[in-house]
């Protein structure tokens, strides 16, 4: 019996599943730079971000995506950072954003 061609297919639930434990590489980033936890997603970092004007870089979003375990996206977007440091000057919670972004960028293996 050949499989019927339905003309559509099913997709998994898009909802984030929070119950899964944090990925070890996410855990490692959070341990190496604990100040990331202080982010309250106010968006001041993204407002002043030099690279964010041209690229999808917005630090507070990377933090949210890091918690969600989207390591690859975080790693890719962190590559856009120019390390100008304006975000760190403006962060009201004193997050060490430059170090955080370096750790995030290192989530991707270096290009050969």
């Amino acid at each position: 019996m050949p499989k019927p061609d339905f003309g559509f297919s099913f997709a998994p639930n898009r909802a984030l599943e929070l119950s899964v434990p944090l990925l070890p590489e996410v855990q490692a980033v959070l341990e190496a730079e604990p100040s990331i936890r202080a982010c309250m997603a106010c968006g001041q970092c993204a407002a002043v971000c030099t690279a964010g004007v041209f690229t999808p870089l917005a630090f507070y979003r990377l933090v949210l995506q890091l918690w969600a375990g989207e390591v690859e996206v975080v790693g890719q977007r962190a590559q856009h950072c120019m390390l100008c440091g304006k975000c760190q000057m403006t962060c009201p919670r004193g997050v060490n954003i430059r170090n955080a972004l370096l750790l995030m960028a290192a989530l991707l293996p270096p290009k050969p």
Binding site: M1, P2, K3, P4, F6, G7, F8, S9, F10, A11, P12, N13
Partner: protein
């Protein structure tokens, strides 16, 4: 405090004298269910249920596909009410859950915007020379079956119990979204803990099983199901429900909405063929019944006159558990002699030796 607790959502259901309106989907896929409902109400319980052959679709499916303006559906509804008024009835009995939601919505609009009621009266008069009164009771057929569950159970030879082990059958329910999510006070138990099906299953001796996605939509999606390429929406949402109920090993899925009943049946077949997965652990799928089908079976009606052979997930394993006798050879026989049998699906098991 004002009582707003789910257990306090009890609605008034008149005992008798109803004007009945049919469901497009129910009569298309489950013709035996509507016939059985009328048979039970009229012949087993002796009620006065009137149907006017001039009533039409409420246009609800088209309305939720955004093809029918509000003014139009309102006037179509007014025309149905005009037939009800003309026949001397004030209690409306609705077979379809989409329709039920539409009637609730229109009555609510007319109550809060009396000028719209006047506009509707005018539009109906201009287009058809008809007038109408509002119903004093708006009742879904599952409301009425729930209301009459004790007299029905008293007349029933069967119970939702495994005959060989005396174990109560595990029932999961799926209440159509438009039954009480739009107007919680319109349904037994409200939007969050509707009791219209669970109360029915428990009266027949079944064990209700609450499951995480109990209140999730079956995924009809109106336009999404009506368009072949969009049906991924529908099947994926039903799949969310199946995945969620699987761990609770239900014997039966009970529904009150004709669309949900069809989808929860057909998507089990579709998912089995697409992914090889069934949710009963045996490859047969979880049987799906609507409130009328359940009541008719419990009362001892013949499964094949009830049209259960039109389900894709087969009911025989459930009938055997309950101990309902059936003529296997009658299943596919027709008024005009024996017909062919449906082809067997690739994955979903439909014959059991």
């Amino acid at each position: 405090m004002t009582p707003l607790l789910w257990k306090d959502y009890q609605k008034e259901v008149p005992d008798n004298h109803y004007f009945f309106v049919r469901s497009c989907i129910r009569q298309t896929f489950f013709p035996g269910a509507e016939a059985a409902l009328l048979d039970i109400l009229r012949n087993s319980l002796g009620l006065d249920i009137f149907e006017d052959r001039r009533h039409t679709t409420c246009t609800g499916i088209a309305y939720h596909c955004d093809l029918v303006p509000l003014e139009t559906i309102m006037t179509v509804i007014a025309r149905q009410l005009s037939l009800m008024t003309e026949a001397g009835y004030r209690h409306l009995l609705v077979s379809c859950v989409t329709s039920f939601g539409i009637y609730l919505e229109m009555l609510d609009m007319w109550q809060h915007h009396p000028e719209m009621l006047e506009q509707t009266r005018e539009a109906l008069w201009k287009s058809t020379r008809r007038t109408f009164e509002l119903p004093t009771a708006l009742v879904h057929t599952s409301d009425l079956i729930y209301h009459l569950r004790k007299p029905i159970a008293d007349r029933s030879p069967h119970r939702l119990v495994d005959k060989s082990t005396q174990r109560a059958l595990r029932v999961v329910d799926h209440v159509g979204c438009h039954y009480a999510k739009i107007f919680p006070a319109g349904g037994f138990g409200g939007a969050e803990f509707p009791s219209v099906l669970s109360g029915l299953a428990e009266t027949f001796g079944g064990e209700m099983v609450d499951y995480p996605e109990r209140r999730h939509c079956c995924g009809f999606g109106f336009r999404h199901y009506m368009l072949q390429e969009n049906r991924g929406y529908s099947v994926s949402n039903s799949r969310i429900k199946f995945e969620s109920m699987e761990a609770f090993a239900p014997d039966l899925i009970l529904t009150n909405c004709p669309g949900c009943n069809m989808f929860l049946d057909r998507w089990q077949y579709t998912l089995a063929e697409m992914s090889g997965k069934t949710y009963d652990g045996e490859g047969k799928g979880i049987p799906v019944l609507s409130h009328e089908e359940l009541a008719a079976l419990m009362l001892g009606r013949d499964p094949w006159t009830l049209g259960l052979q039109m389900h894709q997930v087969q009911l025989e394993p459930l009938l055997d558990k309950i101990g309902i006798a059936y003529q296997a050879r009658q299943k596919y026989s027709m008024v005009e002699g024996v017909a062919g049998v449906p082809r067997e699906p690739g994955v979903l098991k439909v014959s059991f030796e």
